[in-house]
Amino acid sequence: MNRLVADAWRIARKDLAIERSSRVVGSQILPFGIVMLLLFAFGVDPELQVRGGERSILAEIAPGLFWITVLLALLLVSGRSFAVESDDGSLDALLVSGVHPGSILAGKTLVVAIQLALLEVVVGAGSMLLFGVRVDDPLHLLVVMLSTTVALAGAGTLLLAVVAGYSGRDTLGPLLVLPSMAPVLIGATAASGAALYGTGSDGAAWTWALVAFALLYGAAGIVSAGALLEDV
Amino acid sequence: MFWGYVIAGYGIAAVVLGTYVVSTLRRGRTLSRQLDPEQRRFLDD
């Protein structure tokens, strides 16, 4: 067990070192988030108010836009997480090093989650600045963001491991990830809406659902890793 | 007017299920002919 955790941590640290030196997050992923913010502002008139004039329509739909951005970024980030390995057959090398596949998926999930969290901070701050989003219940929002991030990272890593080593994975990945993650997206949007504006009475139920998704998808990858990555 | 929808619904199902059944049976026949009898079945009947 200790070995599993230690190896997962080593792989995560290695991936973080690669990301630090390649600067893809800073130069591509975060700018992607900002571009999305701007596109939403172009697509939806920021002046339009919801009925009652409490806030702009853009601020109202910001939770949905926010999580769509994160979901799309997930495709980029988790795709990259495996591309780093299969570029030079390193997935084989990890296996030959006697690493348990569970450690590989756990390490990768952690790194994907960290990158998504970074993006969420930037896009979240941007939404507050540009869309006039304000936060009612920061603690609730934190729980929502944490569990959604873990669920997305776990599922993204798991589903991309399903197609690892297959040449058409860049196009097949989204087909697997997007429909599977739609329930998480729906829940995250509803729960964030509740955390931001206190709208809807279902925020708490959705938050619990998100925590369940996080546990489920976080564990699923680690449990099934052996079946997925052995003999790639 | 309602009967139109009913016929449409049952019609779609009939066409899709029918096509699937026919193609399955056909594929079975073509493949079966290409194999020796002892390779054809998972179990003896």
């Binding site: 792989i11 290695k14 690669i18 990890l94 006697g98 | -």
Partner: protein
């Protein structure tokens, strides 16, 4: 996790008694194609075997199979006592072999030292072994902090070799180890092979290098059409 359990279930390295590997009619299928079409092979401890044969003969697949990668579709295969048809056994085996493949298994964005330390750490190699391996391949100087993307092909190969040496495998599987190396590098590989067998390990080399190999490898195996045969004794060749 029955991670530490060895195939012999005593948790220790099995005595490297003969045979190191025993394959009987082993078939390995890659993408629907039988890359190995029934291999019979016995390897003994301390042996150096040279796999030769045309491209596509199955040399690389055989090395990967012996490394615990890939599945045996038909027949049987046992390496270091591990039954290759069983997942747990393959996992156990992988930690005890060293594979030098065509791909260098290095991360472009990490430095030479970061790469070597990462792989050695995963392997729980002794830090002293890592230092001496780096020194042995001349990687302890300026090259140490250079990202791998800035290395020449030969320098990459040396880095991979250093990783391998730090692992102290029981079975060395080398795929074209001399390729891309200068005279000095080739001499290093030769010394490496002799040292490894001296320490009791077994070495299998797939190579097209007909100049170098005969002196190194007493045993020559011809690979063709996915099967392996012992080459006739040198004198018998007409």
């Amino acid at each position: 996790m029955s991670e530490a359990a060895s195939p012999s279930d005593d948790g220790t390295v099995p005595p490297v008694a003969s045979p190191v590997a025993r394959l009987r009619g082993a078939v390995c299928v890659l993408g629907g194609f039988p890359a190995l079409a029934g291999v019979d092979l016995d390897l003994h401890a301390g042996e150096v075997a040279w796999l030769r044969g045309p491209n596509g003969a199955g040399k690389t697949t055989l090395l990967r199979l012996l490394a615990g990668l890939g599945t045996v579709r038909q027949g049987s295969a046992e390496v270091l006592g591990a039954d290759l048809t069983r997942v747990a056994d393959r996992r156990w085996l992988r930690r005890r072999v060293g594979l030098l493949a065509h791909a260098t298994f290095l991360y472009d964005d990490l430095t030479v030292e970061e790469n070597i330390r990462f792989w050695a750490d995963l392997h729980r190699s002794d830090p002293g072994d890592v230092d001496s391996a780096m020194a042995r391949f001349g990687l302890d100087g300026r090259l140490r902090t250079v990202p791998v993307r800035g290395l020449s092909a030969g320098q990459r190969r040396r880095t991979s070799l250093a990783v391998l040496v730090a692992r102290r495998p029981l079975l060395w599987l080398l795929d074209e180890p001399h390729a891309g190396l200068d005279a000095e590098g080739r001499a290093m590989v030769d010394r490496l092979i002799t040292d490894a067998t001296g320490a009791g390990a077994t070495v299998i080399v797939a190579s097209h290098d007909a100049d170098h190999m005969p002196a190194l490898a007493p045993r020559v195996l011809d690979v063709a059409g996915g099967v392996v045969r012992d080459a006739p004794a040198p004198g018998a060749e007409s």
